[in-house]
Subunit: 247 residues, 2 copies
């Protein structure tokens, strides 16, 4: 234990300790499946209180590097598929940077709910809905197609707001809006149909992602359902597990 905590450093003590423990694990001092020292002994070793040590170990736990077992100890985890988490960072800018994103509305018109839409929006089949079809462009290049159905209920102000802002932009942007209480998301593989292929300049029948959503308002009523279609280059689902440098 050559390394020490420098309390004068800008980096807080718990972060320094987390980095030290991380290096020790990477260096093989504590092998996968092995036990790291107890919180109290680490605290004595580095002159820190137990709560601070816990916070450091909490960082490693959240990174999936170690696992706490009550009454037993803290163990180094092996790399496991199970711990992986994929996010939508690659398309964040499309929803969050309106300056670089343009929306081309291909269709916005009243229509009737088909069986699938009726089920999703908890409506009777044939009930009135608003159909939307749009093309989202990033830096003037086509990025994603959007197809959506919105509950046609003008007693609810949010429907109007929805139509005004264009799409679900505010909802998904995370600002302003605040009409959505909850949302279910599904990612599916699909293939481009002829229209999508033309709009996105992709080969028909080629592989694509479909990001499907179902949004509820604060009365727990589903008010919007739809999906985005994106090429594999646009929606990138990558993640890293285990001990990568500096992360």
């Amino acid at each position: 234990m050559s390394e020490r905590i420098d309390k004068d450093r800008f980096e807080p003590a718990y972060a320094q300790l987390a980095a030290i423990l991380r290096r020790q694990i990477a260096g093989g001092i504590y092998p996968p499946g092995g036990k790291i020292p107890s919180e109290s002994s680490i605290g004595k070793e580095y002159g820190l209180s137990v709560m601070t040590v816990r916070q450091a170990i909490g960082v490693l736990t959240q990174q999936g590097l170690v696992e706490r077992v009550q009454g037993c100890g803290t163990f180094v985890k092996s790399v496991s598929l199970t711990g992986s988490r994929f996010g939508l960072e690659s398309i964040e800018d499309i929803f969050q940077d309106p300056g670089r994103t343009r929306v081309k509305v291909l269709r916005m018109s009243p229509g009737r709910a088909d069986a699938k839409t009726a089920e999703k929006l908890e409506l009777a089949e044939g009930a009135r809905v608003i159909l939307i079809r749009r093309l989202l462009l990033r830096e003037n290049l086509p990025a994603m197609c959007h197809e959506g159905r919105i509950r046609c209920d003008f007693t609810r102000p949010l429907v109007e707001a929805e139509l005004e802002v264009g799409p679900l932009s505010d909802l998904f942007r995370g600002n302003g809006g605040g009409v959505a209480k909850k949302c279910a998301l599904t990612i599916l593989p699909t293939v481009f149909d002829s229209e999508q292929a033309r709009l996105l300049n992709q080969p028909e029948g080629g592989p694509a992602f479909r990001l499907e959503y179902l949004v509820y308002d604060f009365d727990d009523i589903p008010f919007g359902w739809g999906w985005f279609t994106a090429a594999p280059e646009t929606l990138v689902l990558k993640t890293k597990l285990g001990l990568w440098d500096e992360s």
Copy 2:
């Protein structure tokens, strides 16, 4: 503030407080974008110390419901695509329950690295690698195809271990193994080729997921690269955002 913390309950105080705050947010007392009371005032209100209140708010933060801003306050977040995280729970059992999973080896033979494999495994093109092609069955039903390339370096014991256990089972299972230091994962959309279609009983050209991996050992040398191909029903990427009941 009608609800109180019951310290005799089995549920810890921080969890009770987190649930209370969650209900208050869901009930619209603190709307999206709004500020919740400061940690010290909540502490006084419920007779808890600041650290305990912080732990409760930490739970909500991790659930993506609120956001802490230093020197400013804690704010209720709107539902946003950005916060979503997708996991591989749907195929966890294939890797973690050897009893119900069978592996049929279609090919395991020495070969030469093509350009892509050479790049991934940091080898010269044409270097010796081991090629593996397998079919993974769950409950005797075909679930996923696997195609992999392993570094052919018998000075390293892990290669032999790799071949013995069959596949990356131990690695991905998270037990025993411990030869992997880090791993990169990518999910891509693809279409079934004729062989995959036949093996998995799926339509050729139909949409599928491709889960690609690259595994490194403790010397930071990439020793395995490959991918799994799965039907959309097998690999389910779903997630929920915002205020769902009891979660």
